[in-house]
Symmetry: C2
Subunit: 372 residues, 2 copies
């Protein structure tokens, strides 16, 4: 058995408990660890072209050294791979490799690979076990934890998928060495989000340690572990997102609308959309008299220091349109019978779910925000 | 609320309990029943071209009369619709109709529609509720009960799917009036199967009442209800098919191999393959000295009287090949690490799971069976 990870977050879901391990060298130790936890199994690795180049050799070397049988399927990197046709391709590759129901799918990559591979594992042979090996910061602190898997539809993001929990999550800190800095910053938006939702103390700690987190000191591991623990709390409270788990969507309703408007292109990364969305959620709440505007200022300052955009105007390219953004929001899956659901806030660490937001109010607010 | 159904089989799955209603006129009563059970929901009907012609107007008239909002998506009839591309089409149609997470998918049709629509419901918006309205005998006694949903892969049948339980099953006896007689007989193979697995008394009762069941007397409703109750017992004992539920595959390993060899064409319907497969399972068991050969005779006689094929030679067209059948069996998902798993029997009502069948033994047996 390889040495213990730096941090372990246990996810005690009934009958499907698993560990999230956070630390350096986890890819090198993966072979021995998987062999011990899943004796006699074969492994199907799903990854993307970029991660295949940057990180796959570390994983396959480790599986080979442990004598584990494995096959790999690689999809193009980028959000466009969360499609029906890629799902089809990955599932057929799993079947072509003759992986059986007891075998294991490994998702090696960012949130795109995790969501796609997890969904493929959920439906191949009506459900195979899978292990998340998140290699982007966003995937390490958010998408690899909690069992939401899925792909996009022309009708909207993440509209097709399954709840399928991983059997193990290996968040290797060394993998982040090859992650482009812009992607690291985007992932950081989700880290900050946990503080903004319900943990002002964590947000304060992030403000104090932001520099060390970006430089890769010990605070980075702690920031990731605390983020995973926060996400785990929400997952345990509400696995299928029928209630409180929706708080994790802070900044996401605005963020998705911006991503849709920019065509999921490199104009705006997911985490960047979330960053702007969180600022908008604070501003919208402040405009309704719900939250103190100095908290908005603190949020903007922190995200700016992370190198993140904080205003719609920070998005490069053509100016966006309030009506189009509102249409995108209305198409979003969190619309229930005409009224819009938003995550609003009473200040840092005080987010709440508001199910009765009037579309007109949002349009007016967006009109103002677009002038900023 | 419409009047009570003739028979009700309750499926007490923890947290997801549902009823199977069996009786005449259930389609006419569907609108009021659905309105009472699912107030305020919208409905997405999935059906096939044949059933749309023969039965859909009864359902839509009933939903309209109850004032329920509904949309319909129709796929071509036949096994080929259990494909990735049809799944894609159905899911996108559900999203295009703006059906929300709380809305209901209705599968109106045979096993093909039930498996496809159930799988679409499992993955659209990461899981929507669905109601089975089985219109073939096979679907009423088998595929609509138990939550297995899925599609086929070029690598084999039902290799992609999900476990997703319906919220309600409406088995309308009147729907069977338009079912082609050959399809009725094929479904009957699955009825007989429950007797052969573990209920000799039921098989005996079927022998006594076969004529009335085919003519549509009261015994038909009872036969269906008892079959649903039998299937329910297995589902409750082993929802995810990790053990005893595999007994339901009696006749299916041989049957699937025959279906594959005949290209899932009208040469051989699923239930016809199961009928021949059950006879083969009895003969194979008898050849191993496990089962008395007079039981095989009783099985053959009963299935023949139902108008079902009982020998490989009964399949029209080119002669099949033992090696090809064995290859098909080996590709089947019930293969675990080289050894073949078969459902064998010690006689009528005494089936059991045998995990260590040698491929050579099967080849030799099939060589003989092909001569018969
Ligand atoms: N399932 C969930 O709960 C959940 C939660 C949040 C986000 N998501 C999803 O996650 C996705 C975004 O995830 P993401 O930001 O990781 O995107 P991503 O997977 O596209 O990764 C970002 C880019 O970084 C590259 N990359 C990743 N790791 C690398 C490494 N170590 N070295 C070099 N390059 C690397 C990738 O190839 C890609 O080009 C979105 O689709 C979003 O919907 C899911
Ligand atoms: N999910 C499960 O547990 C399970 C169990 C057994 C079989 N199955 C699946 O079920 C499928 C076979 O089901 P099936 O035999 O019902 O096939 P089917 O759905 O193709 O129906 C057979 C034919 O009868 C027609 N039909 C159905 N009802 C009719 C009606 N009332 N009037 C006129 N025409 C009607 C259909 O259009 C079709 O042409 C296979 O794909 C098999 O894998 C699933």
């Amino acid at each position: 058995m390889p040495s213990a990870a730096l941090h372990t977050v246990h996810v005690p879901l009934e009958g499907r408990a698993y560990d999230i391990l956070i630390g350096p060298g986890l890819l090198e130790g993966a072979g021995e660890r998987l062999k011990a936890q899943f004796p006699g199994r074969r492994f199907g690795i799903v990854t993307d072209t970029e991660v295949a180049r940057a990180q796959l050799p570390r994983l396959t070397a480790s599986l080979d050294a442990a004598g584990l049988n494995h096959a790999t399927v690689t999809v193009p990197n980028g959000e466009a791979s969360k499609s029906f046709s890629r799902l089809n391709e990955v599932v057929e590759a799993i079947l072509a490799a003759r992986l059986e129901r007891g075998d294991i799918i490994i998702a090696l990559g960012g949130g795109v690979v995790g969501d796609l591979a997890g969904f493929a594992a959920a439906v191949a042979r009506r459900g195979m076990d899978f292990v998340q090996v998140p290699t982007s910061l966003l995937a390490q602190v958010d998408s690899s934890v909690g069992g939401k898997t899925g792909i996009n539809s022309p009708h909207g993001k993440n509209l097709i998928g399954a709840f399928h929990q991983p059997r193990l999550v290996l968040a290797d800190l060394d993998a982040l060495a090859t992650l482009p800095p812009r992607e690291f910053a985007a992932g950081y938006a989700e880290v900050a989000k946990y503080g903004l939702i319900d943990d002002e103390a964590y947000f304060f700690w992030l403000e104090e340690n932001q520099r060390e987190i970006f430089e890769g000191g010990p605070a980075r591991a702690e920031a990731i572990a605390r983020a995973c623990a926060a996400k785990t709390r929400f997952v345990l409270a509400d696995e299928k997102e029928t209630g409180v788990r929706a708080l994790l969507n802070l900044g996401h309703t605005f963020g998705h609308a911006l991503e849709t408007a920019t065509g999921y292109s490199s104009r705006l990364l997911h985490g960047e959309g979330v960053a702007i969305g969180m600022v908008l959620a604070h501003q919208f709440s402040a405009s309704k008299g719900l939250a103190p505007s100095q908290d908005t200022g603190r949020v903007i300052q922190h995200l700016k220091a992370a190198g993140l955009p904080t205003r719609i105007a920070d998005i490069a390219g053509d100016k966006l349109d309030a009506d189009e953004l509102l249409r995108n929001i209305a198409q979003d899956k969190k619309v229930v019978r005409g009224a819009l659901t938003f995550i609003l806030t009473r200040g840092i660490g005080k987010a709440f779910i508001e199910k009765n937001v009037a579309p007109d109010e949002v349009r007016a607010f967006l009109g103002e925000a677009l002038k900023a």
